[in-house]
Symmetry: C2
Subunit: 342 residues, 2 copies
DNA sequence: TGTTAGCACTCTGCTTCATAGAGTGCTAAC
DNA sequence: GTTAGCACTCTATGAAGCAGAGTGCTAACA
């Protein structure tokens, strides 16, 4: 793999990424500025195909990069790319203008990410289920209802209105809250199982029915802990701009997949390293996206991993630029999180 | 418009709705069971076309219904349809299994709606900005932070973690909360403007900087009031199953439109009558959906309109069935709301 | 030995053309 | 008023032909 081969390969991939057309020796000879003839390039291309970096859609077409070609491109060929000032500015302004709350931050992240990368983007927040129960509190609302609030170590987890059972005093409610807080405080939400709740029920036996609301809220909160492992998906229409999805069948297959939250969750959840991870074509464990690449990175808050964001597109993707965007967004999101911490 | 014409028209529309193919006189003669020959049907069809109820894609093709034809079909021809037991069961189970909170109820509504109707469905909740501020409360969190909670007449509106400014006692915080609650209680969120907040600021002048967090939270909450006019969108992939969207261009046009929350909001917000409203083709005020029909209904909670749900699809739509589904969902959602009231 | 020009060959995609099929409208008969 | 028959029209489909792009091979050249 000499220098010229690398240059040729890079030129082919760069060109293919922007045109989506198989590319011939003439074009490369003209573009890559090596000062050699198409015939020479043909020889190089033939070698590169033999090495598995290129493919031919059919016998007399130009070459296109193979998955292996992209892999080599990402690992060895492409230079690191800086995010353009324009994009950085866009991101900053976007968040300043649109984000008011944490969930909005996530929502807007996928929006701006897909807009800049012109691909589908996703974001999962997988860490909520590991948070600890801190306390539960009843707040007055009106004569017949109270607001129940569950506070965890990440802030308020869940809240809702609850009917006050007839003939219950505020003091009684407070006592129940105290018992529950004493028994549950410090437990991870996932540890709060029915068995623990049954014990508490016995403890406040005189009026067990009063507990039900609070109990169900906690059950909900722990349930929500999983439900809150929310997947944000954005820019699905971007798919339709990609020539590889000119076929409605393909679009449908992929879009249906993307509607399955659990699937998306798995696509991303599998990896939680620190840097930007690129998964090309069949490297993805789901065959449904074997013609796609995923570029992902996890983001942290106070050192703890709290989620993953990713861009998904055809293997023909602007890897360098997309990685730069993801990297920027990873850092940016960390800051945003601090600001809008629950 | 005699009885036989009506029968022919109905047969044509029914058939076209299910096949999406222009339909000829032979087929109708066979299917609608009038015992007349294709030639007779041809005469009727010719009349119906002259009346504007039918169209011919080209000179020697069968007929398809015009927008006017659909309108007549919806208003006069089709019988009221009951929701099938299967669908009713599906909806009930769906909510039982998946819904834990209010926003989930909305989210799942569009999911199940689009699944049953096999079309795009949407839901907007336009009424949140009209709710009243009740009170604000600081809850202890840890040494340096408190949880701030804004309670409105619909329940907890917003909450978040806030840093406690150095050297501030809990009592001081409580006092500030008391002042704010006194001044703001009963106001609609939209009425809480900077001017009012400035006044309060003067009132607790000794430590105005303490207010900032709470103030910004309220600003956020009022801002969120608008942001909470949320649009839920579901089943966009259903589009791809419709033959009228076999063209990627059309899909893209419509999907891009559907990504604009504000547009969707306007499509639905315009009408807030009580029953089920059907808007066919060019009756829609947005030219982008002039080949689509919208079936919508508002839903209520305690008599007050709290949102609108809708199904959007090509003009060739199963009107009777979709209307039945929407009607059922309208009532069902009312019940669900009561249960999961904030 | 690496590079290049020339050339034959191959494969796709587009255009053109012919044909089959579906459906209509008209006329004349019932 | 209804129906059978028939000529006509328009589309969709498939075959055939052609241009264009690109390759691989060979032979010549530095």
């Amino acid at each position: 793999m000499d220098e010229r081969k690398r240059q040729v390969l890079q030129a082919i991939i760069d060109d293919y990424i922007s045109t989506a057309e198989p590319i011939g020796s003439r074009t490369i000879a003209r573009k890559c500025g090596l000062g050699v003839s198409p015939a020479t390039i043909r020889n190089e291309m033939s070698d590169l195909e033999a090495l598995g970096f290129l493919e031919q859609p059919h016998a007399s077409a130009g070459r296109i990069p193979s998955a292996k070609g992209y892999r080599f491109y990402v690992d060895c060929l492409m230079g690191p790319q800086q995010l353009s000032d324009r994009d950085a500015l866009l991101i900053n302004q976007w968040f300043d203008q649109k984000v008011r709350r944490l969930d909005e931050a996530f929502q807007e992240t996928v929006k701006v990410l897909s807009r800049i990368t012109r691909n589908v983007s996703l974001l999962v927040t997988p860490q909520t289920s590991s948070c600890q129960f801190k306390y539960l509190q009843f707040l007055p609302f009106d004569d017949t209802r109270v607001v129940v609030i569950v506070v965890t170590d990440t802030g308020v987890m869940d809240n809702r209105l609850m009917e006050i059972p007839a003939g219950t005093s505020v003091e009684e409610l407070q006592r129940i809250a105290a018992v529950m807080n004493h028994r549950l405080s410090g437990l991870h939400l996932t540890e709060i199982q029915s068995s623990v709740l049954e014990k508490i029920k016995e403890e406040v036996l005189p009026r067990p029915e009063l507990l039900e609301g609070a109990l169900s809220l906690i059950r909900e909160a722990t349930g929500c802990a999983n439900a809150n492992d929310k997947v944000y998906l954005g820019g699905t229409t971007q798919l339709l701009n990609q020539p590889e999805f000119r076929d409605v069948e393909k679009v449908r297959t992929l879009l249906s997949m993307l509607e399955e939250d659990r699937l998306l969750y798995d696509i991303l959840h599998t990896q939680d390293g620190n840097g930007v991870i690129v998964t090309i074509g069949a490297e993805n464990k789901f065959s449904g996206i074997k013609d796609c690449s995923v570029i992902q990175a996890s983001f942290r808050l106070d050192g703890q991993m709290v989620g993953t964001l990713a861009v998904l597109g055809p293997t023909r993707m602007e890897y360098a630029r997309t990685m730069a965007v993801i990297e920027f967004m990873q850092a940016h999101l960390g800051n945003v999180l601090k600001k809008y911490q629950r």
